[in-house]
Amino acid sequence: MEEYAREPCPWRIVDDCGGAFTMGTIGGGIFQAFKGFRNSPVGVNHRLRGSLTAIKTRAPQLGGSFAVWGGLFSTIDCGMVQIRGKEDPWNSITSGALTGAILAARNGPVAMVGSAAMGGILLALIEGAGILLTRFASAQFPNGPQFAEDHSQLPSSQLPSSPFGDYRQYQ
């Protein structure tokens, strides 16, 4: 049923935008809860109300910023997949750098370069974390080579080459 698996890229933009918004809102909510709590006058009611007010005012802003970043990043990433015809970690790093640069465009070219560097480094770290976690997860389930040393689909490779040309086709 691999033939019916849908291409992930166009839908992934929406998925990533929503996921980024959720992360920003939840993370921002937690952070602003503590900040509002500490910034309020003495008294439990005052502190709780200050905490809630801070969450309501600032968490949506942070969620929006994350959504813009995630949506633009995913759009550029899908564009690169389409152009390069290849998916590898370079797409993520380049997309992170370009996203940082584009979102800092209003601040001038110097800020764009700085934001591009920050975006690229951040995505490199995220890719590094992903690779480390993959290796760690696979190390937890050690299994030898899952198939024979040489594939059985090519038994005739040991035979002398056929006179029909350099390209071999088996059915």
């Binding site: 992360m23 998916e87 590094g128 390209y167």
Partner: protein
């Protein structure tokens, strides 16, 4: 697939870890305020000792007051030094912890992208050879696209691979997928490289493409020559 499911959660936890430096920064701001108040207290103690020499007119009483001042100074400064040293060591440990984590992540990504034995490099080279192979082009159509295993979030950037040793030489086997402009056609590419003992580089042993249902395209096969 179970392994890939772990990725997003751990990545999220990593993202949470990255917010911690901000908290430490906040704590630093708090603690920097404290020394000023401590200094204020010490200044006050000095002022309270000031009137004593003025009141005493006899020489012996003056000497006694001077000794008292010296003793109190050394006591206060010693305790402050100990506190500052402890705080500095704590900050240094935190900074080293952060730098080591960041360093290991950067090392991992650089090794993946630039080492000649990394699965990503092998994937790139094998895909390049597949793209120029006429039989692959005729089956899938141009342009040929390549990608790795699908993760939960729809990203396919990491190819599956396995490493093993044969006759003391390291081998890496990589599996990825290709598809072209023909709709519904998808191929699984198996590629294997072996360490060349003379040059230290990794040379391809074979590259072949599995096309459903029962067909294989041999892009490169060097097993007979090497074995």
């Amino acid at each position: 697939l179970g392994r890939q499911l772990l990725l997003p959660h751990f990545v999220l936890t990593k993202a949470c870890l990255k917010t911690q430096p901000l908290r430490w920064g906040l704590r630093e701001q708090k603690k920097t305020v404290q020394p000023r108040t401590v200094l204020g207290f010490t200044q006050k103690t000095f002022w309270t000792q000031g009137p004593d020499p003025r009141k005493a007119k006899e020489d012996s009483s003056k000497q006694v007051s001077i000794n008292r001042n010296q003793r109190e100074e050394t006591g206060v400064s010693t305790s402050q030094k100990v506190k500052e040293a402890g705080r500095d060591v704590t900050y240094l440990i935190v900074v080293l912890f952060g730098v080591s984590i960041t360093g290991s992540l950067l090392y991992t990504i650089f090794k993946e992208l630039f080492s000649s034995s990394s699965p990503n490099i092998i994937y790139g080279k094998a895909l390049g050879k597949c793209r120029t192979h006429p039989e692959v082009i005729s089956v899938f159509g141009e342009p040929v696209k390549g990608y790795g295993e699908m993760s939960r979030r729809g990203r396919r950037q990491h190819v599956s691979f396995t490493e093993y040793a044969n006759n003391g030489l390291k081998r890496i086997r990589v599996k990825f997928y290709i598809e072209g402009s023909e709709p519904g056609k998808q191929g699984t590419v198996h590629a294997e490289v072996e360490e060349n003992p003379r040059s230290g580089q990794f040379d391809f042993r074979y590259i072949f493409v599995d096309v459903a249902p029962k067909r294989s395209i041999v892009v490169e096969d060097n097993r007979f020559q090497q074995s």
